[in-house]
Symmetry: D2
Subunit: 349 residues, 4 copies
Amino acid sequence: MIFTSDNWAGAHPAIAASLTAHSAGFTPAYGAGDLDQKVAQTFNRIFGREVAVFFVGTGTAANSLALSAVSRPGGVSFCHRDAHVIADECGAPEFFSQGSRLVPVDGKEGKIDPTNLEAEIARFPQGFVHAGQPVAITLTQATEAGTVYQPDEIRAISKIAKAHGLPLHMDGARFANALVALDLTPAQMTLDLGVDILSFGGTKNGCWCAEALVFLDSSMAGQAAFLQKRAAQLYSKSRFIAAQFDAYFESDLWLDLARHANGMAARLQRGIDASTNARLAWLSAANETFPIIPKTLAKDLTAKGALFYEWSAPRSHPNLVGEDETLLRLVTSFATTEEHIDRFVDLLG
Amino acid sequence: MIFTSDNWAGAHPAIAASLTAHSAGFTPAYGAGDLDQKVAQTFNRIFGREVAVFFVGTGTAANSLALSAVSRPGGVSFCHRDAHVIADECGAPEFFSQGSRLVPVDGKEGKIDPTNLEAEIARFPQGFVHAGQPVAITLTQATEAGTVYQPDEIRAISKIAKAHGLPLHMDGARFANALVALDLTPAQMTLDLGVDILSFGGTKNGCWCAEALVFLDSSMAGQAAFLQKRAAQLYSKSRFIAAQFDAYFESDLWLDLARHANGMAARLQRGIDASTNARLAWLSAANETFPIIPKTLAKDLTAKGALFYEWSAPRSHPNLVGEDETLLRLVTSFATTEEHIDRFVDLLG
Amino acid sequence: MIFTSDNWAGAHPAIAASLTAHSAGFTPAYGAGDLDQKVAQTFNRIFGREVAVFFVGTGTAANSLALSAVSRPGGVSFCHRDAHVIADECGAPEFFSQGSRLVPVDGKEGKIDPTNLEAEIARFPQGFVHAGQPVAITLTQATEAGTVYQPDEIRAISKIAKAHGLPLHMDGARFANALVALDLTPAQMTLDLGVDILSFGGTKNGCWCAEALVFLDSSMAGQAAFLQKRAAQLYSKSRFIAAQFDAYFESDLWLDLARHANGMAARLQRGIDASTNARLAWLSAANETFPIIPKTLAKDLTAKGALFYEWSAPRSHPNLVGEDETLLRLVTSFATTEEHIDRFVDLLG
Amino acid sequence: MIFTSDNWAGAHPAIAASLTAHSAGFTPAYGAGDLDQKVAQTFNRIFGREVAVFFVGTGTAANSLALSAVSRPGGVSFCHRDAHVIADECGAPEFFSQGSRLVPVDGKEGKIDPTNLEAEIARFPQGFVHAGQPVAITLTQATEAGTVYQPDEIRAISKIAKAHGLPLHMDGARFANALVALDLTPAQMTLDLGVDILSFGGTKNGCWCAEALVFLDSSMAGQAAFLQKRAAQLYSKSRFIAAQFDAYFESDLWLDLARHANGMAARLQRGIDASTNARLAWLSAANETFPIIPKTLAKDLTAKGALFYEWSAPRSHPNLVGEDETLLRLVTSFATTEEHIDRFVDLLG
């Protein structure tokens, strides 16, 4: 019953098998090999256009490189208050972009509120050097709250981005989970809605270590190869990332794994809904579930072998959690089984 | 006959097998799992003391984090003119350390010349803010010229380092190759000679992607965990690096692989020595060989399927290469076979 | 009737005279001259102990160097939401400190609320690399709201700083104004209350360009000389800053100028209080006054030659300003005359 | 007899008088005042076209901002080995430009040798991420050796710059000294020869603190206002720099002062030439003179009250200085008198 994070799982057998299959033989280093090229073509196919793809090792790297690629002096990027870039990356985006700033925007259920976004951008009048200058907007899909932006919600944000001439970045650490939740194609969830740059995550969904920085608008990728190398994110045996992605995309494995993880979360939510001891803080659509339960029950669950993190109630949802209660974050993955879920739900009572 | 680089090889079967073996099951992320801890213990055992180990994804990351860990404002680090840090990392060490400078030091056969080193350090008088301040010395073992510093040579450099209060870093991208060439223990080649920080490379010697930043003097590691995370080098499924190292150290696989690579280089050097068409630029001890051959022969070799890079003659060896000649760099690895070598030597004539 | 900012004034005649007096003759550059040393001694005398003083050209430089002097990787500093460092320095503190972050803390009337401060610090648990690590607290005295922290209020913040092992920085761009408002000595308003580093401003109070970065705890100044030079803030003819400070401190000119500026603000506040068309947003103690007036009146004042900025209502004071109203910031200085004030008050009606 | 540096002098009386004259009254801050605008127009007039001018406080700031304005990730700039940017700025250019690198180019008498420059640039093949990418060339006029590039010499370098698509920066800390030495107009010595960006120095030539970053090609200034502010180089009472420049340009004061300083150097050189105890290391054209004298004489001169720095023999001039000899740098300025020179020459014997 491990619900701490989807990165506590290992790698899917097909991913491991691909690494073994590609481990022999010589191939050009630093991404110039055939397999790297094949996977780059797969990205083009998936998005229905020529995109610029860079394999990197961590989601933090993808996000930080994306934001630094479009940053300028005194740069300010806007993100949700609970976004991974601002809450969990130890200042990497700021470090990569020479001290540009992340400005948190409030919004319910992990989503940037467009009105709040406009209000924050307005604090930085054009050409006013004292305040700094807006350089990007970044949203997370699926969000850190397990929810998923609807197409219209992304469109609303991208409209603001375009109005201010700002590139729109999507942190897709859980891109596949959002995709299957919405039943859209990759292009439909990004390009068609005005997303310019994507951090495409494979690690949380069954890979060992496979992230891709994707410039959907390849005109923004001009300096990316140098940014990547300078950031120590150009892998000599880059083939090892390509091999993971190759298996990941094969026969839509990635979508199947995401469907499974989301399905496990849905099953968990149904169980919580049915329990008299727990309630959902909000309904999520991807692979993270946020129940509120009595503190005593949390202790009990832990004692009985369940692993999870207690979560801070978001500022956008004050008074959500009672004094004797606690908010949990439960993350499912490709490796979560129905048995895990049912045992946990059973313990909830 | 692929001699371009040891990073054109894939992964040794035992490394691939270990990844498969460890792919199932849940384990704490970000290096907190059992396997990570086990490998950390292995590092302690190998060096005979408690060291501080951080797994990272590239040698560039290890080097850049090492130098930034000991940098200060206006910092200046000293390296060989042809060192990887200054020649092949796109300014990553400078980027990581907020613009500290790398000062090239000349020396024959890829090794820092102690007299030149002293002369360069002397250009930065203590407390003289205009020039900047020395903060580190870094040497590469085995060197980029395929040679290996003898213990006394390292000691001479470390003596200078200590005299100036400078930490001594070793770029060990080919650490194992140097170790077996000298037949020393890891501690004998580092700690006992005054090395403080080590970039311990596994990738070039049979891993996919396994590098470790090792603070032999763990008092220098105070900020390293934050440096690592901020640089996007903390891997969530860190287990995938640990699994590689676990197999790497098992039954001294790493030393066997390095012995093989060095042996192939020795076989190559014997063949070059015996050829009337080629001569060695210098004798190397690890897995890189540098012959000088007629330009026409180089074309011929390429036409017949040999892959290698032509190399710039180092500034420390002017007039080494005749007008009709070219200098080659030939790199062997765990995956090089006797047949590759013999075929190539045969073609040399 | 110019109330836009205290930096719209020029230099006090005594400052100009000192520059003239010291313009002849040769003197060692870069701060090594006698006059620089004399002024450094004056700082020691004023604070009653050996402090480490560095002359810089802008308040932004002093603040940014102060924060970078104590920063560490993933560093987070805490400031008031409306503090100059976060609102008006174009990201300089982040740039100087390699991307460390400023976290805004709410509080009424420009002052950090200690409870909010504790809550923000608590978001960064010790050793948790994902979030980053607290490295400093910075407060502004006098505040950007024209108010002045009482000694007990500073003590409350410094107590939190000490509890978390954080250095406490004071942005004293209007240090003199606060000092005379509280009738304290420099040491009483800083050292005795636990302030470690001070940005000591002279520019807004009658100098042309004279700011000092003062390490009251000189153990924090270890790298400051290199930080200053690397930031292009070491002035060759440093004497020109020293000459300004020399006149500034002579016969307590600085305190007289601040008393005058504060007195003008007090006169203005009395006038506003007496007006039926205006009210004070809050009572200030230094040289900035914040009245709320009808929008139509603001236009009228402008038409009649008054210059001022309309100000955003602070988030900590929502609903302060009615729909037909506007909030003004009126800044007085050594150059403001009673006549300016009285004419303005007269126009208020 | 003070020949240590031109920055040991104070300010010319006309500069001091201008500061006094402009010290009263209110004016918009941050460069928006009338005087700032007037001086900006003067720059336009001097260069015969609309240029983009930014006032900064130090030459290091001007140089570092110039290079960072045109830098890119992995950026490499080329300068003379003894250039101020690489020898005397504590890494500020690297710090400002996020770790871009300065590559030293050898050349006699302080001037970049075009052949060496080409050779250094060739080490960075286009698009080869490992090495980094060339982003700028910077030369110093007058040079740090007191010499002056002839127009053809600048043209040769600018031709290389254009061929590689690199902006050409001129460090004009002693711009006026070079100008009068060559008897050219500012445009003739820059624009007409292909210089794109200029650090225009006033400080060493009679100002207190007046430097201007001038984008002759204003298309390169796009981010400069934000760069300047983020670097803490936007002065609130910017008028104090403008007032200095206003007097500096008035009736060609700047050219007169430079002519005087150069004339004093010429007088000094004549004296050295005539002395049997001293010889010139090379002939200089601006306000720095480099004699070689016996070490015993140097001691004697010091004992008799002469102040100067002993200088390292440049690498480009090995064997220049005998074992019992020493190389001096003697700098003259607007404040140097004939009496100083004659007394010194007299002491030489």
